[in-house]
Subunit: 261 residues, 2 copies
């Protein structure tokens, strides 16, 4: 499945022809699995890739995850091995790579953010997808080395705020939650979906001034859930009780899974 010969010819490596999911697990279970599966299936449809054999995949994921009491499991689903060239083989035989690592709790704290210079290109054909073409995020993440900075915010080519390098973005403005719409770029995160299911959130266009002026700024990803931003440029925010409640609800779903038989 992941022999060196196979992987060396894999279209994921050659072209980034594939998708990935990062899944937080408790024992062998992933509370948000259905949403990860839906997103991966949707990505396959948009890229023209076959879907995995879900039963077999779930067995492999459970086996990998159960090595730890709590784990984050990275699933990479590629177009598989093929002769050289952009043309996919017919049929495509996808390849799943599964990598688990232990998940350790970190006390929620306020994040320290910077602005990235690297912009996100506008590409509706790929927008929203968690695909393997991530050089923009790599270049953005390489802009800072200080361990004091937790994340960087990225703008698109038109100067609109899209996301952090590895997290979605939310702001509260006049009591309303807003998040960037993702029709041109960005990744539609599973924790973003969780937040939008939990409280009313408006998808819209956000400019940098709105971030600076926001009452609250939150980042989210599927491993850590919602985390509040404490500093960005000269601006400071103090801890917000609504975000603390959201964090507690996020963690509760994993605790509940751990406690259930």
């Amino acid at each position: 499945m992941s022999s060196a010969a196979g992987l060396a010819a894999d279209r994921g490596l050659h072209y980034g022809d594939g998708l990935f999911e990062t899944i937080r697990c408790v024992g062998a279970r992933a509370p948000l699995w259905d949403w990860h599966q839906e997103r991966l299936a949707g990505g396959c449809a948009r890229l023209g890739l076959p879907e995995p054999d879900w039963r077999r995949l779930q067995r492999r994921l459970a086996r990998a995850a159960s090595a730890h009491a709590a784990a984050t499991v990275k699933l990479i689903w590629t177009a598989g091995s093929a002769p050289r060239g952009y043309a996919r083989p017919d049929p495509v035989v996808g390849r799943a790579l599964i990598q688990a690592q232990v998940w350790r709790p970190t006390p929620p704290r306020l994040l320290n953010l910077c602005w990235c210079q690297t912009r996100l290109a506008l590409q509706p054909a790929l927008a929203g997808l968690k695909h393997l073409n991530r050089l923009e995020q790599v270049l953005a993440r390489a802009e800072w080395r200080s361990a004091d900075i937790d994340e960087g915010l990225m703008l698109d080519m038109q100067g609109r705020v899209v996301a952090a390098t590895s997290a979605n973005l939310f702001i509260r403005e006049g009591g309303r939650w807003l998040t960037p719409e993702l029709s041109g770029c960005g990744i539609a995160g599973v924790a973003r979906r969780w937040l939008m299911a939990r409280c009313p959130v408006v998808e819209t266009v956000l400019d940098p001034e709105q971030i600076k002026a926001a009452e609250v700024v939150v980042l989210s990803n599927a491993v850590r859930g919602p985390l509040q931003v404490g500093a960005l440029g000269g601006r400071r925010w103090s801890a917000d009780t609504e975000v603390q409640d959201l964090q507690a609800a996020w963690e509760q779903q994993f605790a509940a899974t751990a406690a259930s038989p």
Copy 2:
């Protein structure tokens, strides 16, 4: 170097964090090696990657190529293995993957082209580079299945013609050679550089109407050199002697290498 464990953690696979070259070789030699090396070095500088150990790499390339009298050698240079996350390790230890396949002569013939719907996003930070984020080309190449179609032309998001999925583009218009400028997207091919060194070519913005109206349309890549387009949509072109001369000059450099001691 390419063990399964190493490759499975490679940033080339996870993020497309790397570059590639496709090099036509004669025995152990590559007539255009200096330009491949320059482009790869330039790509490393722009992406912030270390350069390979060139001597060691050339030895490996020569060994791989010499398995065939004539070969195309694909070289992939990635940011190497690393723990999960967009942040590169410090230092980055690059990984070279080298794959040779036999090169076989194909009689030059007029190419049959189509227009692709998939557009190229504008991303100056990556424009010109032969990097591993190639989903746009994969999606464009998936638009046709007919073996009668040799290549597809791609526009950028502003409707300007950039290239074919795996070749650069040239047109002759009023006796002058023109090729798309690549400040926003596209790959600066080695055969493109060869053509521009050989005859005066103006880098400019090209719209689809100019392609249809051109006296001659040519595609180029480092394996096959310049190839003339014979059909695109309803338009037909007949063989052009200037292109035939260019093809002969392209092949001559490989023949000369084969003949030299």
